[in-house]
């Protein structure tokens, strides 16, 4: 009987998550369109609401092609390796005080463990496609996701330290009065940026960058298997939103305290969609980073900042300072990188631009030599019309 109930719960969860992912597809296209002066989907259903469903039907009816030289079994297993972990994480996500499939005591750890597992699927997809673009995309995804996993883990550790628990439910219950976004704004910011990179959204979408590696690990996929990758990507995006809402914005609780379950779920979903909307907002604004910029941003900025947030939290807890000192501390930590960015990092670029401008001026100041050969040739053969 337990098996039946568990299957039922999992099936319900699968549907909820899939619908959420489809809603994100619509929301992304609509927001992106409106932010760029376009209208987004309008044709299928009212306000284009049925567009993701139409897309899904289209993808399922397409022929599922595998390259002849691909490693067939791994090629078709890879999408599942990406999708299953991104779906399994939702087992322990509490939508409300008592609304979850299984409240794991090690929920945060469970998330960290499973979110790394998806990388295997991406690398496998790249390798089994037997395509240069795909394998390059797979390598890129491995490099990017592994390096951005560290700041995510560090910020999750900060939250776990503050809450004194690794269970999502306890973390939310600990944020009764002040959400951790206010206690540790630095960790929240680092989490959002690293989360963007973790799910491969612009400006960190270099592993499936269309203009460089065409589609990354997904180049050779089509039809239903590509749809699974697509679904997993949006589920991951929704996951980042949900994690942000649970760990930093007080989930279903803050700021109203205990409310009926439905209202709590609505509050949680509102926060989740708000964070997701910010992710789409960033996508609408920024172009893609170069891979070296991405790696240096991850290793030189985000990881030190996340460690600083971690150490600051440790100090605050060890010495028992009041909680507001942590807010100030984390904001103070942000000052040096911002100062560096504003004062120093622009200098070399400006100097370079000035240097090139001077060269250009000097080049244009020189008198242009008349091409002698052309003159003599024209003189030698006057009236020739076919020169041009």
């Amino acid at each position: 009987m337990d098996v039946v109930w568990a299957s039922l719960w999992l099936f319900t969860l699968l549907n909820v998550v899939a619908v959420a992912a489809l809603s994100l597809v619509w929301l992304e296209r609509k927001l992106l369109g409106r932010m760029q002066g376009r209208v987004g989907p309008t044709r299928v259903g009212p306000f284009g609401l049925l567009q993701p469903i139409a897309d899904g039907i289209k993808l399922l009816m397409k022929e599922d092609i595998a390259p002849g030289s691909s490693s067939r079994v791994l090629f078709f297993v890879a999408p599942l390796l990406v999708f299953v972990p991104s779906y399994m994480v939702w087992i322990t996500i509490p939508f409300g005080r008592d609304l979850f499939v299984r409240n794991l005591d090690l929920g945060l750890f469970f998330f960290v463990a499973l979110s790394v597992l998806g990388i295997v699927g991406l690398v496998l997809a790249g390798w089994s496609s037997n395509s240069k673009y795909a394998i390059l995309g797979g390598f890129r995804s491995a490099a990017q996701l592994v390096s951005y996993e560290i700041p995510i883990i560090m910020t999750i550790l900060v939250v776990a330290m503050l809450a004194g628990s690794l269970s999502f439910r306890d973390v939310v219950l600990a944020q009764d009065v002040v959400p951790y976004a206010a206690v540790q704004p630095l960790a929240f910011g680092v989490f959002l940026l690293a989360g963007l990179a973790e799910v491969g959204r612009t400006p960190f979408d270099i592993y499936h960058a269309e203009s460089e590696v065409v589609g990354g690990p997904f180049v050779e996929y089509s039809g239903a298997h590509w749809a699974i990758f697509f679904l997993a990507e949006y589920i991951n995006t929704f996951m980042v939103g949900a994690l942000g809402a649970l760990l930093f914005l007080g989930g279903w609780r803050w700021p109203v305290g205990d409310v009926p379950a439905a209202a709590g779920v609505a509050l949680f979903l509102f926060k989740t969609y708000a964070i997701v909307a910010v992710i789409f907002w960033v996508r609408a604004t920024y172009p893609r980073m170069r891979i070296d910029q991405l790696m240096s941003f991850g290793w030189k900025v985000l990881i030190p900042l996340s460690f600083a947030a971690f150490v600051a939290t440790a100090f605050q807890m060890f010495y028992g300072w009041p909680i507001w000192t942590l807010t100030i501390l984390s904001l103070v930590i942000l000052v040096p990188p911002i100062y560096i960015q504003l004062r120093w990092q622009r200098k070399p670029a400006m100097a370079l631009a000035k240097h090139y401008a001077e060269i250009a001026v000097a080049v244009h100041a020189q008198p242009r030599p008349v091409p002698v050969a052309a003159v003599t040739e024209a003189d030698a053969a006057p009236g020739r019309e076919d020169d041009a």
Partner: protein, 196 residues
């Protein structure tokens, strides 16, 4: 970093604006006043017939040879409602061939053809872009309404004006002829006055 924040604010501001997209088949953007669309034939309302006499100037000058025209005798001349002895019988423009150069308009001395605002060519048939006289006149009628068109040379080309002018000229000639009968008197008097 400041530029990044500015960029975010820019996209946020655009979120509040109305989209610039026009849903084309349902919503047409206004055409510019001097837009040169496909050529169309204009109608002389005073005689209820086209201006075109089928003189073939535009057909000869057309660089893509997209036009054909046939003229015949104008029945309205006998009725006295028109001054055009010849009138167009059939006129066809293959709009697929037309390059919208406007040479036909430049060479036409009869105010008969104009570049209209029409620019939508889609049709269901292979010959759908062949515009015959009726279509060209309909397009021209629409253009006249849209642009409040007035002929460049009404005295020569508009039947009502030309006929009125001719009638006036005839009347003046008749008057002159009538006066001419008494003219020797007048001449005689002047001569007589000059003689002494």
């Amino acid at each position: 970093m400041i530029a990044g924040v500015k960029g975010l604010l820019t996209t946020l501001r655009w979120l509040g604006k109305r989209p610039v997209t026009a849903h084309y088949p349902e919503q047409h953007l206004p055409v510019q006043e001097r837009y040169m669309g496909f050529p169309a034939l204009l109608t002389d309302d005073t005689a209820d017939e086209p201006f075109c006499t089928g003189c073939m100037v535009c057909v000869r000058e057309c660089p893509t040879q997209c036009m054909t025209a046939v003229m015949h005798d104008n029945p309205n001349v006998a009725e006295g409602t028109s001054h055009r002895r010849k009138i167009i019988e059939t006129f066809e423009i293959n709009l697929n061939r037309c390059i919208l150069c406007g040479i036909c308009v430049d060479v036409c001395a009869l105010d008969a053809i104009e570049m209209s605002y029409e620019h939508e060519l889609a049709s269901f048939g292979r010959a759908g872009a062949r515009a015959d006289l009726d279509i060209l006149l309909t397009l021209g009628r629409r253009y006249m309404e849209q642009s409040a068109w007035t002929p460049k040379n009404p005295e020569k080309n508009v039947a009502g004006v030309a006929l009125a002018k001719k009638a006036a000229a005839d009347a003046a000639k008749a008057a002159a002829a009538a006066e001419g009968a008494s003219k020797p008197d007048a001449g005689g008097t002047t001569e007589a006055e000059g003689e002494p």
